[in-house]
Every structure is written in C-alpha cells, then in structure tokens.
Amino acid sequence: MSTRSHRSYDGIRLLLITSFLFLLELACQMGWVQSQVMVPPTLMVHTLWKLLHSDAMVADIAITFSEAFQALVIAVMLGMVLGWLMHRWSRLSDVLYPVLSSWYSIPVFALYPMLIAFMGLNQRPVIAIGVLMAFSAMALNMRHGLQAIPTVLNKSARVMGVRNFPFLLHVQLPAILPSLMTGFKMAATYAFIGVIMAEFILSPRGLGHAISFAYNDFDTRSMYALMLLIIIVSTSVQWVLIQIERRVLAHRATLGSL
C-alpha cells in the first residue's frame, strides 16, 4: 500500500475518532446520557490529569506496569523454549498443540487463589496470571516460525557447512524473526490484559484494582479516567511495537509475511 493512501486512511480514522469523541461530549453535556453512566471525555481527561498527580495512583500504575513487564519477559522466554521444544519433538507437539491452541478459552484466573497459596499475597500471583495468559501465544508463534523455515534454506546452509551455533544464530533466528515479532506483540497484549484482569478481580493493588475500587465507590469520574489511561497505554504500546516490527522486517517481502 502506498504511503499516500496510508496517510489518507489515517486521516479518515482520526476524523472518525474525533467525531465520535465530539458526539460523546455533546451527549454527556446535553444530558442525553445520564451522568451516573457516562462521563464527558473532557472530564475524563481532567480527572486523569489530577489522578496522575496523586502519589497513590502513580504507585498503583507503577505496580501494574512492573507486573506486566515481568510477566511479558517470563512469558516470552518460556514461550520460546516451549515452542522450540515442540518443533524439535513432534510427539510433544502432538500432545501440547491442541491444548495450547485452545488455551485462551481456559479460565486461568480460576487458578489465582491457588497461586496465592503458593506465592503469597503479593505481586507474584498477578505476574503468574499474566504469564499464563501470554506464554501460549509466544510458544505457538515460535513453533510456527521454526516449522515455516523453507527447507531449502536449511539445506543450503548445511551444504555451505554452516552448522550448530552459527546455524542457530545466523539462519534460524533471522528466519523466525517475523513470527517472533507476532508472538511478542500478542504476548505483550495478553500479559497486560492478564495482569489488569487479575488485579481487577482479585488483587488489592494496581491499576485494575483501582478501577474496581472506583466503581464500587460510585466514583465514575475516576473509573473512566483510569479506563482512558489504559486505552492510551495499550494503544501506544501496540503502536510502538508495530513501528519496531516495521523497521526490523523492512526488507522482507518473501519470507514469513504477516
């Protein structure tokens, strides 16, 4: 797609989003929507701004980000190892693949109390939930990447005498980079979702908990302000990852198109 049409689509999207926000603002200010249900976007931003100046809120935000980050790192490492093992041993793959590909439908948060019993009432169970939600995407993408390397590349490398560690580093790793990036994006999404969800339902700390608390306290302004924050953070992270992906995969039209 040419950059010119790219930019005009971006423009249309921007227009759509701003019109939507404008209508929402209008609806709230005119009282078409009850103030207990929805809060005008301008008020959301204002409340968010105030919240960001409160130490307690900043602490909660920091907790959530650190949990999500740790969950992502562990999920990526675990997923890459598992994906590699599944590629190496097809028997393992036969058993695990159906489980992992329907993993998203398993309510992993039901394990949360059990995790608290193992790890105590701290950050670790939340991180564990994040890992549990994210690792399967990474494992499946890693396996797919390795499976999808065209045989002709492996054969050519063998003929050239490139084996073992140089083969891993200079053939396999670059070849699976597109799949790794896809897996990484998905893992980042799910780690964040998992952490927020765990905090929302069952944790006494963090951004998810803060939203739940605001809801229970009938503090709709803070609630929406925090929801807005999550939307901003989530879309920014996704955007950054997509940019990184574009740079890293700049020259590949042939292998592993997404």
Binding site: V152, V159, M160, G161, V162, F167, A175, H251, R252, T254
Partner: protein
C-alpha cells in the same frame, strides 16, 4: 583429481509416516570426470532430487557408495561440493553481498574479512550483480535471485557443482539466458557439474553427457554423449546433431514419462 565423482550401486528406500517402504531410486552407478558437465533427465517422481541429495551428502543412502576424489561421502556435505536448488534459497534478511559472503563467513574455514570482500566482489562481477550488491532479494527478480544463489555457491570454489532444476521456476527466456551464464561460469570455475532438469533441450544444450532415469524406482536407462566442445554456447541448438540428440532422449523418456503419469493417477 579435482571433482571426480563416482557413484556405485546407489539406492534409497525410505518409509514415510505409517506407509509402506518406498523405493525411491536405484541401484544406479555412474561417474562424472573432473570438469565434465553431466545432466540427468527423468520423469516426475523418479527420485532425481533424492539422488542428488544423496550425492551431496544431505541424505544417507540405503545402499551403495558415493566417492568424491576417492573420498567416501557419508552424511556430511564435503567442502568441495556446492549445490543450487530450484526454490529461492537467498536469505531475505541479508543484502546480496551479505548473502554471497554467508558461506565464507559462517562456514567451515576461517577467512579474513579482506579476502571475503575480495571474493564477494569477484563473484558479483561473475554473475553481473555488482550494482545490486546492497539490494535485498525482495527487490530482485526470480532470475536475479537464482544468480545470487549461484554466486553464493561459486564463491566457495566448489569442485563439484550440483544443480537441482535451478531454472525451473523461471520463464523460458530468462532460462535461456541463465543457461548461457551457467556455461560461462562452468568454464571459468573448471568445476564438474551434475545438473537435474526436466527440459531435454536444456540438457542437450548444456551437457557433455546426458543420463536418462526411468520412472520410480529410478534406474539409469540410457546414456547419451553429445560430443560438444567445451567452448559451446546456447546457440549449439542450431548444430545439426542437436535435434537428433533431443529426439533420441525423448524416444526413451516418453515411455518412462507415461509410466510415471500412470503411477500418480
């Protein structure tokens, strides 16, 4: 005896998942003299590619021997062998120059950066890709990408060059041009060449000898000596013996091709 290949009673039988034994090819015996250009033609499924991979040392044969310069090839590809495949084997994440340098950088020998650069420049010139040194494969046509694979192989100075239908994915005109280039590279490098192709014209045009394989399990049914001089070009097609050679090959191959078609039905 640089590039002397000797294949004796080579055969391959394998079993794919849950199926009976498949006898891929053999026993076949033939040799390639140093600097000789030999083609193998045969119907689809006759085991030509498997044969070539056994010769390379990529697959271990069930029976028989492959010897290069008197040394037995087992399950390791010797440094003297180079191979170009039908599919595009250029690494999409590297530039043309880095692709060509790949085997020199990460392969068996340790070569200085200076020497690598020199040899890569030389190879780029040989295949006519000097202006594209910093392009990526995605920016090149199919024919150019095959030239990258060719350069990457030749830069390692193989004594035996194995080609598995290298031009099959290209259009006929490009194919002809690539054939011309191949002859030139062959003359320059003095390597022995073993080429697999479906095209009888291509085989007769390029080779000193053509071997015909039967339908599966592939056996050598016929051998044709073209008698061309080393200095030939693709206009050898106008030689008075050319059509006769092609017809002679087809006379043998036709039966095998029909048998192969029936097998697949």
């Amino acid at each position: 005896m640089a590039g002397h290949l000797s294949v004796e009673q080579l055969s391959l039988t394998y079993r794919s998942a849950g199926q009976a034994h498949t006898h891929a090819f053999g026993p076949v015996s033939f040799s390639v003299a140093p600097g000789e250009f030999v083609s193998i033609v045969g119907p689809s499924g006759c085991g030509k590619s498997s044969l070539l991979e056994c010769v390379a040392g990529l697959i271990k044969p069930t029976k028989g021997e492959v010897n290069l310069n008197g040394q037995r090839i087992r399950d390791e590809v010797p440094a003297e062998v180079g191979m170009v495949f039908q599919q595009d084997a250029s690494f999409p994440w590297l530039t043309v120059a880095d692709n060509i340098a790949f085997g020199l950088r990460y392969g068996r020998e340790i070569i200085s950066t200076e020497r690598i650069r020199f040899r890569v420049e030389e190879a780029l010139e040989q295949v006519g890709l000097t202006e594209f040194a910093n392009h990526y494969p995605s920016q090149l046509s199919g024919g150019m990408r095959q030239r990258v694979s060719m350069a990457r192989t030749l830069v390692m100075r193989p004594q035996l060059l194995l080609l598995d239908e290298p031009f099959a994915a290209l259009d006929p005109q490009t194919r002809l041009l690539m054939g011309e280039e191949l002859l030139q590279l062959w003359r320059q490098s003095r390597a022995s060449v073993l080429l697999i192709t479906h095209s009888l014209e291509e085989a007769v045009m390029l080779s000193d000898r053509v071997l015909v394989m039967s339908a599966r399990p592939g056996l050598l049914r016929h051998e044709l000596v073209t008698g061309w001089s080393r200095d030939r070009h693709t206009d050898i097609t106008t030689h008075q013996d050319f059509s006769a050679h092609v017809n002679a090959l087809w006379a043998v191959l036709r039966e095998e091709a029909i048998a192969a078609m029936r097998m697949q039905a």
